[in-house]
């Protein structure tokens, strides 16, 4: 990585130097041509003067013209022949034009190369910066559960607490481990999505049963967080999407809603859907902690975790900050959209997912 960067920078520097050289060569050649033409001009002027002297000394005009072919004599006066003047001027133009075209071509070619390399360099710098940020965030995301894990283990070892308290510590450690393991999965998923290494196979999927399947898997968590989930999607609504992508998207959005509601001390999550203009729109409305509308733009970015503040008592959820990012990427790949709305902290939130509608598949 470093060697290519040095190579690119060297190439860039060489090209800039070359461009300056070409520009200089262009100016120099033009000046040289003009200088040469002027020199020929003065030779011609000397010849005309010599011709005039010959004429004055009685040499015949014919003889003078034989001796000096560039000179014409008319009415006893010697002067430069129009054809010679013409030839000189056209030679001057031809040369200057040639330099201008050749120089411009080289400059253009160099300009294109410089732009290409400069763009590559800045794109690379951007990628490096993103990677740095990613690493910093990933390490932060891991260090917190790691710190919690270490603290619980050292508490166990230092204090030998009674069984009930030990149980709490063990549960906490298991949750920290689960959280780190979920994070690894999500980080790998998000990296794969980013690199475009995900091939989605679009097919017609029945939305109600796809959502119902995820809901049934989340029932335990819903109970723990005192969340009532209602699924009022009508059967026979079909969307065009990859089956696994649909599952991941619905799961992430629902998990997000469950956490938000659990953090608010319980409530409900309402899932509904409707068909509109060749699309199917899924709405997930929750009565959870909501979010500041100003934070809406950041919601689907990597590592955004909108903390609900002091929900520590209820919190059995630890966001990785990647869930909604994955949702947005998968929705983009499925030619769909996702958006989120909230009236503000404490006022619940709704997520809208839109896919292209599909026809009921023929058996």
């Amino acid at each position: 990585m470093k060697a290519t960067r040095v190579f690119q920078l060297t190439a860039l520097a060489l090209m800039v130097v070359s461009a300056v050289q070409v520009a200089w060569w262009l100016i120099d050649q033009r000046a040289y041509t003009i200088e040469k033409v002027d020199a020929v001009h003065s030779v011609y002027a000397e010849q005309a003067a010599a011709a005039q002297a010959l004429l004055d000394s009685g040499t015949s005009a014919q003889r003078v013209q034989e001796l000096l072919p560039q000179i014409t004599v008319s009415g006893g006066k010697a002067g430069l022949a129009p054809a010679a003047e013409q030839a000189l001027r056209s030679e001057e133009h031809r040369r200057i034009n040639q330099y201008a075209w050749e120089g411009a071509f080289f400059l253009l070619a160099l300009g294109v190369c410089i732009t290409v390399i400069a763009r590559a360099l800045s794109a690379e710098a951007r990628v490096l910066e993103e990677q740095d940020n990613f690493l910093a965030l990933v390490s932060h995301q891991f260090k917190t559960p790691l710190a919690s894990l270490q603290l619980s283990l050292e508490t166990l070892s230092l204090r030998s607490p009674p069984p009930a308290q030990a149980r709490t510590l063990i549960d906490r450690m298991l949750a920290d481990l689960a959280r780190m393991s979920a994070m690894v999965t999500q980080i790998l998923e998000s990296v794969r999505l980013e690199r475009g290494r995900v091939e989605l196979k679009a097919e017609a999927l029945e939305l109600h049963s796809a959502v119902a399947r995820v809901v049934s898997q989340l029932e335990d968590r819903a109970r723990e967080g005192r969340v009532a989930i209602s699924n009022t999607i009508e059967p026979k609504l079909y969307v065009m999407c990859d089956a696994l992508a649909l599952d991941v998207v619905v799961r992430n959005v629902l998990e997000n809603a469950l956490s938000a509601v659990a953090a608010a001390g319980g409530g409900d999550v309402a899932i509904s859907a409707r068909a509109a203009a060749g699309e199917v729109e899924l709405a997930v409305k929750d009565s959870g902690v909501g979010f500041d509308p100003a934070a809406q733009a950041r919601l689907f970015e990597k590592f955004t975790r909108l903390g609900s503040g002091g929900s520590a008592a209820t919190g059995n959820y630890y966001g990785t900050g990647l869930g909604l990012y994955i949702v947005r990427r998968l929705m983009q790949l499925a030619h769909g959209r996702v958006s989120a709305h909230s009236e503000g902290a404490g006022k619940g939130a709704s997520f809208l997912l839109t896919w292209p509608a599909a026809r009921e598949p023929q058996p």
């Binding site: 603290l151 508490t155 949750a175 920290d176 903390g307 503040g309 630890y318």
Partner: protein, 241 residues
């Protein structure tokens, strides 16, 4: 000021597990503990309460830990702060101490080291407070300057009122307690910062420069804060040779 029976510690950490773990351990050590999950909550709580120590996470939702510490210091709140952070690089450590933190611990940390640091900070503050508790030790007068250690405020020889930072006050306190004696840089580091917080004794030199600027009539040829080359510093109060 009477010493409270229980020492109150505020834990500001947005991660519920880590917060709970830290609080449980502090309680087991006999401290009274309160919790805040965000910078805003911490500042809110501190408006109505006092505590002996704040354990402060750096990466918090909303105002981050550095912001909280800076806000407190600007309000004149000198409660000691122990930063907890996932970013342990030197730049971050220095930043934490610049905004007025007392100590810095990188996640993940060892429980015993954490408890040790908590004790060390509280011990230093205990010394400072008890040393400033009585009327005759609370105020220091020298060269026309008057320093009130209880409120970190000084009136200088020029009549200016100056707010001292806690570290400036503590250094001045240590030097004044040993007025006329040589105090080494290492002693000052140990007494004011604790063991390994700062990498170099240069920091002490910078603080002495600041004290000279505040209290010396001519900081370039000091009469109160004297350098003892190769060793440390000597403080001369009123009327001493």
């Amino acid at each position: 000021m009477s010493t409270p029976v229980l020492v109150q510690v505020l834990v500001v950490e947005d991660d519920p597990h880590l917060s709970a773990g830290v609080r449980e351990n502090l309680r087991a050590e006999g401290y009274e503990v309160s919790a805040a999950g965000s910078g805003e909550q911490a500042l809110d709580w501190l408006r109505g309460h006092q505590c002996a120590l704040i354990v402060l996470d750096v990466m918090l939702p909303g105002i981050d830990g550095f912001g909280v510490c800076r806000a407190l210091r600007e309000q004149g709140n000198n409660t000691p702060v122990l930063f907890l952070t996932a970013r342990g690089d030197p730049v971050d450590r220095v930043r934490g101490l610049e905004v007025g933190g007392d100590d810095y611990l990188a996640k993940p940390f060892h429980l015993q080291e954490f408890l040790l640091r908590v004790r060390a900070i509280l011990r230093r503050w205990d010394w400072y407070r008890s040393a400033s508790a009585t009327a005759d030790t609370a105020v220091l007068r020298f060269g026309g300057n008057e320093v009130d250690f209880r409120v970190f405020r000084a009136r200088t020889w020029s009549g200016e009122t100056q707010e001292l930072t806690e570290k400036e006050a503590m250094i001045l306190k240590v030097l004044a307690e040993h007025s006329g004696e040589i105090v080494s840089r290492e002693d000052l580091l140990e007494r004011v910062w604790g063991y390994d917080v700062f990498p170099s004794t240069r920091t002490v030199d910078n603080f002495i420069l600041r004290l000279r600027k505040r209290f010396e009539r001519d900081p370039a040829s000091p009469r109160h804060f004297l350098t003892v080359w190769g060793v440390g510093y000597r403080f001369l109060g009123e009327g001493e040779p």
